[in-house]
């Protein structure tokens, strides 16, 4: 399929190809409780990302020998739809998808009271329907909403956002083109009330100083995402309340 020519990603006024300033998030739309069968669910659009998350549990563990005696087993599957990317992706999970499933799981667990449900499992399914850079962060942002929607007791929500380096500039929340053609991308997951970084990865090359700035910039992004998550949860509960009233 045809590839677009590379053009300048950031103009002399510091404006990005999608019109954003360097420290601005892409538009985010969050919905909670949108799946009928899952115990909890959430949907996120962030830029052109479209991601659906469903949660089942706490439930019996299969196979049984995987059950943990003093806490719930958190399982996570991050999966991309074949049509979510430019070149069709085989539906079989890639090594990248398996790595992301692992780090997402590890980023969420500190926020969950896993000790409350020993010998059970909590199963998280993430389906990326359209990918536009930063899917692991957007998945995390939605996943903690889906967990909350499923009534899983949590210390706090997890917000996630990346910052990166593009044509020498540090920029928040890279889109696909910026991610692929930029110099670095640093995704961060953050639990506000614990001031805890629970996911931290990086591709690319940055100096120590830039690194410090990027970490702080990404956390600033998380700080902007967190209230949107709370709003989305509230909206769901108000909606439920009204439904109950009717």
């Amino acid at each position: 399929m045809p590839k677009k020519k590379t053009k300048k990603l950031i103009d002399k006024n510091g404006v990005r190809i999608d019109g954003r300033e360097l420290n601005k998030l892409r538009p985010i739309k969050l919905e909670v409780g949108i799946l009928d069968n899952a115990d909890g669910s959430a949907y996120i659009e962030q830029g052109k990302n479209k991601i659906l998350v469903g949660v089942y549990g706490p439930k019996e563990v299969h196979p049984k020998h995987l059950a943990i005696s003093d806490r719930a087993l958190l399982r996570c599957r991050y999966h991309m739809a074949p049509f979510s990317v430019q070149e069709r992706k085989s539906p079989a999970p890639s090594r990248r998808e398996r790595e992301l499933s692992k780090v997402i799981k590890e980023a969420l667990q500190p926020a969950i009271f896993v000790k409350y449900y020993p010998r059970t499992s909590i199963e998280l399914f993430i389906e990326v329907l359209q990918a536009d850079g930063g899917t692991r962060c957007a998945s995390l942002t939605a996943a903690s909403l889906a967990l909350a929607d499923a009534g899983i007791p949590m210390r706090d929500l997890v917000a996630a956002c990346a910052a990166g380096k593009v044509e020498g500039h540090l920029a928040l929340d890279l889109n696909d083109t910026e991610d692929k053609e930029g110099e670095a991308d640093l995704p961060v997951a953050w639990i506000p009330t614990l001031n805890a970084v629970t996911l931290l990865q990086m591709d690319g090359k940055v100096t120590l100083e830039e690194f410090e700035q990027l970490v702080n910039m990404a956390i600033e992004g998380c700080k902007q995402i967190y209230p949107l998550q709370k709003e989305a949860l509230k909206a769901k509960y108000i909606a439920v309340k009204e439904e109950v009233k009717e």
């Binding site: 399929m1 045809p2 799946l35 009928d36 069968n37 899952a38 115990d39 669910s41 052109k48 479209k50 659906l52 998350v53 469903g54 089942y56 599957r77 999966h79 739809a81 074949p82 049509f83 979510s84 990317v85 430019q86 070149e87 069709r88 539906p91 079989a92 199963e123 399914f125 389906e127 329907l129 359209q130 990918a131």
Partner: protein, 265 residues
């Protein structure tokens, strides 16, 4: 999750109602649930559509790639239908390689498209025996509330109609992209209509709880001219000849209604 007892009571109720010509959700025996259709929902795909049939929700994305034709049909493009029963759609779906249900779903959708010649595969040949277009139809079940076949077939058709291919020319065996897009030529509009047999009566568009109580399932796919182009019986029960022929007539009429909705988009 609902308790199994509540489910069993409901199922009995469903069966009794059907035998009186009624359904739990108030529909007539040959009424479909509300159909919502949206196209172009996935920008990364060459075509896409989302169908909601009641609470059943299906997303179909189309990708087109260049590849090799099959050795026995060197001058035809390739159509590949794949179905993913995503684990978030139902507690009964597990992640992993496709189950027999996912395979059957994909193959029934495939047969409707292929046998009605909705896509003329000969037109997707670039260089006989060497280069053809492969049309990937990926059916993604997002919520399972019954009758996945009809919802998936409609979403697949709508997505194909929605599909745009980039323009190209062939220079020295290589495909060169030219500006602009052309719709994928869709020449026929197959529509699947699925029946459940409950207490010896036929109903269309069974929802999940009706499927749990049905004896057998029959899908009849008809094309724009009212021809039958695919059939699939499922489930552990059976049909009489009379029921099959009756179903065929209903399917033709129902399909006509649904086709209008899908084709207009």
């Amino acid at each position: 999750m609902k308790s199994p007892i509540i489910i069993r009571v409901k199922q009995k109720q469903i069966a009794q109602l059907v035998s009186h010509g009624k359904r739990l959700d108030g529909r007539g025996l040959t009424d479909y649930r509300e159909l919502q259709l949206e196209t172009g929902v996935v920008g990364r795909a060459e075509g896409s559509a989302r169908v909601r049939l009641g609470k059943t929700e299906v997303l179909v994305g189309i990708k087109i790639e260049v590849g090799k034709p099959f050795a026995d049909v060197p001058n035809k493009g390739v159509l590949t239908v794949n179905a993913e029963l995503t684990a978030l759609a139902s507690p009964s779906f597990a992640p992993g390689p496709p189950s027999e249900n996912a395979i059957e779903l994909a193959r029934v959708v495939d047969r409707g498209i292929r046998e009605s010649k909705a896509i003329v595969l000969e037109e997707l040949c670039v260089e006989p025996g060497k280069k053809v277009f492969i049309v990937f139809v990926d059916v993604y079940i997002l919520n399972h509330d019954g009758n996945l076949i009809d919802a998936s077939a409609m979403a697949a058709l709508a997505a194909l109609i929605n599909t745009k291919m980039f323009n190209y020319e062939v220079k020295e065996g290589e495909i060169k992209v030219k500006p602009g897009y052309t719709p994928l030529p869709v020449k026929n509009y197959p529509i699947a209509v699925t029946f459940a047999k409950i207490n010896d009566k036929l109903i269309v568009d069974p929802w999940l709880e009706e499927e749990q109580v049905m004896d057998a399932r029959l899908t009849i796919t008809t094309d724009k001219d009212g021809n039958i182009c695919a059939l699939q019986k499922g489930g552990y029960g059976y049909f009489t000849t009379q029921q099959i022929l009756e179903a065929a007539k209903i399917a033709k009429n129902k399909a006509e209604e649904l086709r209008k909705r899908v084709v207009k988009g």
